[in-house]
C-alpha cells in the first residue's frame, strides 16, 4: 500500500482512474494549489507525486527540484504529466519520470508501478544503509572503549568508561550499575539524560538489588545485599526535564559484570526506543569488556594497599634495628675494653687458659660489633637514610686500595692476588667510600672462601650497554629497562674458592640467608655483607651478579655507570627521592634549560645568593651543565620557592631560557619521570 499525491488543478485524471488506484490499495491525496503541495508532501510523506506541470508552468516555478531539495521529501518519486507544447525541459529537473498528455491510463498505471518499485527498493537501501552506519558507529565506540579500558587500573574510571561507551553507542535514557565493593557494601551508579526523581531513585535501588538477587536465583549470592547497604552516585546530562517512574516502562537490557570466576556487579540500561538485537549484542560486548580490566583493577587496588602496609612495616623494622643496634653498642664497648685490659696483663698476670678464654671473648665481641655495624648499615640503606657523597671517582684507585688492604691476608694463605684492567678507565660518579666498601667486601670474601695456594683476580673493563645485555642476561633475570643506556665499568672478582651451589646462587643476596652458615661464621662473615653490597651498587644504578661452580670458584661481577652529566644528576635525584619517600619530606626540583648564553651567568654568585636565603644549610643542591641548571631544594615552604625563582630570574636576566618545576611527593614516581615534568616550561610565571 502506497501513498500517492496528485497535484492537479483541472480534471486531469478521470474518477475511474482515481478509484482504480484506490482499489489497488493506494491512498490518494489530491491537492490543486501549488502552496499546498509542500504542506501535503511533508505531512503525508507520499511515495509518489503525480504533478501536472501544465498549470504550474505558468508560474515558472521549478517544483520538482524544490521537492527534491527539501529534506523530508528528497526521496519522493516524482512523475510529471505535461502536454508536449506546454513545458520546458527545465521544469523536469528533479523529476523521476514523465508521461505526455494526453495519456493512456494503462501507461500511467504501469509508470506508477515501476516507480513504486523503485521507491520500495530505495527505502530498503536507506534502511540498510542506516543500520550499517549505526553498526559501524557502535563498532567504533567499542573499539574506543577497549583501548580506553586497557589504559587504566582505576575502578571508578573503568565504570565511567563503560557508562560513556554505553551512552554513545546505545543512547540510553538511563543506565544504572550496581558495583559490589565488599560484603554488604555496594554502590549504585546512575547515569541519566535528565535528573531523576526521588521515587525513581528508590525504585532503581530496589530494582538493582532484586536484579542482582535474581541473577543468582537458586545459587549462593557472592554477598548478601539489602537496599540499605547501597550507596548512590548520580550523574545527569541536562536539567530540561525530570525522569520519573514511567521510565521503568521503557525497554531495557540487563547484564551482570563478571569474569568466569569473579562477580563485580550488574548493569541495566533503559531507553524509550526499543532495543534491537544488535543493540543487545553491543551492550553485552561492552559489559563483557569491562569485566577483565575490572578484575585487574581490583587486584591492583589490593596490591597497592598491601604494598603500602609492607613498606610501613619495613620502615618500622629498619628503625627498630637501628635503635636496638645503637643501644647494643654501649655495653659492647665496655665489654671490649674490659677484656682488652685483662688481656694486656694490666690487672695481673694471666695464665694460658685465662688468655685463651679472654681472647675468645674478645674475638666474639669484635664479631658482634661487626654484625651490629652491618645491621646498622643495612637498616640505614633500607630506611633511605644512607647518605651518599657522590663525586667523580677513580675506580683504579679504589681497586689499588682494596688490593693493598688485603694483600697481607692473601699472603697468609699464599693466595696469588692480581689485577687486570683496561688502560685508563673513565671516571664513575659515585660515593668513593661506598665503592671501597663494596670492593673490600667482595675481595675479602674471595680470599676467605679460597683455600691456600689459590687465585684471586680483579678484572676492570669498560663495557657498553648493548654488550652488557648480551653479557649478563643469560645469568640472571635483570631489569634492563631500569638501567641507564650508558657506558659502564665492569668489575669482576674471580676466585678459585669453594664455590656456591647453583640452587643457592639466587639467595646469596638475601638478608640473613647464610649458605653453609658454619663456613661463613668460621671465616667471620655476618651474612649481611652481600645484601649490603647489592644495595650500595643499586644506589649507584648498577647491578651485581654471580656465576659459580662448586669446588671450582666464584665470579662476582658488578657494573657502575661511567660519569656523564645526565647520570650524575639522576643519581642525586634518586637519592633525594628515596630519602623523601622514607622520611616523608618533600623537595622541589627546578630545571632551567635551553639557556642561550651562560656567559653572563656567574654560577658561584648564584649559588651564594641562593644559599643565603636558605641560611647556608644543606637545603639546596645545584647542578650545572652546558645549557642547563638544575636545583634540588629540600623541605620547602612556599615562600622559599618564590624567592628562589626571583633570584634565578635576576641572574638569568639577559638570557633566553625555559624553566620547569616539579614538586615531590608524587606517588611511585621515578627520577626520570620527575625530570620529564620539569621539561614542560612553566606558563605564566610571575
Amino acid at each position: 500500500m502506497s501513498n500517492i499525491l496528485i497535484v492537479q488543478d483541472e480534471k486531469l485524471l478521470d474518477k475511474g482512474l482515481v478509484s482504480l488506484l484506490e482499489d489497488i490499495g493506494h491512498d490518494i491525496i489530491v491537492v490543486s494549489d501549488e502552496t499546498e503541495i509542500f504542506k501535503a508532501a511533508s505531512l503525508y510523506l507520499p511515495d509518489i507525486a503525480l504533478i501536472d506541470i501544465d498549470n504550474i508552468a505558468k508560474n515558472k516555478t521549478n517544483i520538482c527540484q524544490k521537492l527534491k531539495l527539501q529534506n523530508e521529501t528528497s526521496d519522493l518519486q516524482i512523475i510529471c504529466l505535461a502536454s508536449k507544447d506546454c513545458y520546458s525541459s527545465e521544469m523536469l529537473v528533479g523529476a523521476d519520470g514523465y508521461v505526455a498528455k494526453p495519456f493512456d491510463n494503462n501507461i500511467l498505471i504501469a509508470t506508477i508501478n515501476a516507480h513504486l518499485r523503485i521507491k520500495k527498493l530505495l527505502d530498503i537501501l536507506y534502511t540498510n544503509n542506516n543500520e550499517l552506519a549505526k553498526s559501524l558507529y557502535q563498532l567504533n565506540v567499542l573499539f574506543n572503549i577497549s583501548s580506553q579500558l586497557a589504559g587504566t587500573l582505576n575502578k571508578a574510571k573503568l565504570i565511567n568508561i563503560m557508562n560513556t561507551g554505553l551512552e554513545k553507542s546505545l543512547n540510553f535514557s538511563l543506565c544504572f550499575a550496581l558495583i559490589l565493593n565488599g560484603p554488604e557494601d555496594a554502590s549504585l551508579i546512575i547515569n541519566s539524560v535528565y535528573p531523576i526523581s526521588e521515587r525513581l531513585e528508590h525504585a532503581l535501588k530496589i530494582r538493582a538489588v532484586v536484579g542482582y538477587k535474581n541473577y543468582f536465583e537458586g545459587k549462593k549470592l557472592p554477598f548478601e545485599l539489602s537496599i540499605d547497604n547501597v550507596s548512590i552516585e548520580k550523574h545527569h546530562k541536562t536539567e530540561d526535564k525530570k525522569l520519573d517512574l514511567n521510565v521503568l516502562e521503557y525497554d531495557y537490557l540487563f547484564s551482570s559484570i563478571n569474569t568466569s570466576d569473579k562477580f563485580f556487579g550488574t548493569v541495566e540500561i533503559l531507553r524509550d526506543v526499543e532495543f534491537t538485537g544488535e543493540d543487545s549484542t553491543c551492550f553485552h560486548t561492552v559489559v563483557k569488556q569491562v569485566a577483565m580490566p575490572l578484575e585487574s583493577a581490583i587486584l591492583y587496588e589490593e596490591i597497592t594497599k598491601t604494598n603500602a602496609k609492607l613498606e610501613k612495616l619495613e620502615k618500622l623494622k629498619s628503625e627498630f634495628i637501628s635503635i636496638v643496634s645503637h643501644e647494643l653498642r654501649t655495653p659492647l664497648t665496655s665489654m671490649k675494653n674490659s677484656l682488652d685490659i685483662m688481656l694486656s696483663g694490666k690487672t695481673g698476670e694471666i695464665n694460658k687458659n685465662q688468655s685463651k678464654f679472654l681472647s675468645m671473648a674478645s674475638r666474639n665481641v669484635k664479631r658482634l660489633s661487626r654484625i651490629i655495624n652491618d645491621l646498622l648499615d643495612l637498616s640505614k640503606i633500607e630506611a633511605g637514610k644512607m647518605e651518599y657523597l657522590f663525586e667523580e671517582s677513580n675506580i683504579e684507585e679504589v681497586i689499588d686500595f682494596a688490593k693493598s688492604t688485603f694483600e697481607s691476608l692473601a699472603e697468609e694463605k699464599n693466595i696469588n692476588m692480581s689485577v687486570k684492567s683496561d688502560n685508563s678507565l673513565p671516571k664513575i660518579y659515585a660515593d668513593t667510600g661506598k665503592i671501597e666498601q663494596i670492593l673490600s667486601n667482595l675481595v675479602s670474601n674471595a680470599i676467605k672462601f679460597t683455600p691456600e695456594n689459590g687465585q684471586v683476580c680483579i678484572f676492570a673493563e669498560v663495557i657498553n650497554f648493548k654488550n652488557l645485555k648480551k653479557d649478563i642476561f643469560k645469568f640472571q633475570d635483570m631489569k634492563f629497562d631500569k638501567l641507564l643506556k650508558d657506558d659502564y665499568i665492569k668489575i669482576t672478582i674471580e676466585d678459585t674458592g669453594v664455590g656456591i651451589k647453583e640452587k643457592d646462587i639466587p639467595k646469596i643476596f638475601d638478608k640473613f640467608h647464610q649458605i653453609e652458615s658454619s663456613l661463613s661464621r668460621k671465616v667471620g662473615g655476618t651474612g649481611l655483607g652481600l645484601p649490603i653490597v647489592k644495595q650500595l651498587i643499586e644506589a649507584h644504578r648498577g647491578i651485581i651478579w654471580t656465576q659459580s661452580e662448586i669446588n671450582k670458584g666464584s665470579k662476582f661481577s658488578f657494573i657502575l655507570p661511567i660519569a656523564s652529566s645526565n647520570n650524575k644528576f639522576l643519581l642525586e635525584l634518586d637519592n633525594e627521592l628515596k630519602y623523601s619517600k622514607y622520611n616523608h619530606t618533600n623537595f622541589v626540583l627546578i630545571n632551567i634549560f635551553n639557556i642561550s648564553d651562560r656567559l653572563g651567568l656567574n654560577i658561584e654568585n648564584l649559588k651564594e645568593n641562593l644559599t643565603d636565603i636558605f641560611e647556608k644549610d644543606k637545603k639546596i643542591k645545584i647542578f650545572t651543565d652546558k645549557n642547563d641548571i638544575k636545583l634540588i631544594i629540600k623541605n620547602v615552604i612556599k615562600l622559599d620557592i618564590n624567592k628562589t625563582i626571583e633570584i634565578l630570574k635576576k641572574h638569568l636576566e639577559n638570557d633566553n631560557y625555559e624553566m620547569g618545576i616539579a614538586v615531590y611527593p608524587e606517588d611511585g614516581i621515578t627520577s626520570e619521570e620527575l625530570l620529564d615534568f620539569t621539561k614542560e616550561p612553566l606558563i605564566g610565571l610571575s
Partner: protein, 120 residues
Amino acid sequence: MSKILVADDEQDIVETLEFILENEGYECLLAYDGEDALNKAKNEKPDLILLDVMMPKINGYKICRLLKFDKKYENIPIIMLTARSQQEDKEIGEETGADEYVTKPFSIDNLLELVKKYLK
C-alpha cells in the same frame, strides 16, 4: 667416668664446653657437624649428648629424632642447644624427643646442673 658428646659447629662453644666438662671430671667427645655427631653418637655410645640445632650436613633435630626412635640409642639423654628461643622451636625440639632444651646464651651453672641430673 661418664662420656659426653658435645656437638656444635661453633668452635668457641665446643672448646668452652669441653673445658668446663673436663674440669668436672667428664670425658668429652667433640663433633663440629651433624654427620660427625651422628657417627660418634652411634659408634661411641656416649652417656649424654649436648646437641646444637643449626649444624651443617644434618641438623640437630634430625639427629635427635634418629637416635630417640632407635631402640639401641633411645636411652641416651639429649640436651638441645639453640640460638633461637621462639616457643615454636622449643615445641619442635620436644617433639623430636629431646630430654631438655636450652637456649643460647645459657648459663654454665644451669647447664652443669642439667648434665648432673641426667648422669645420675
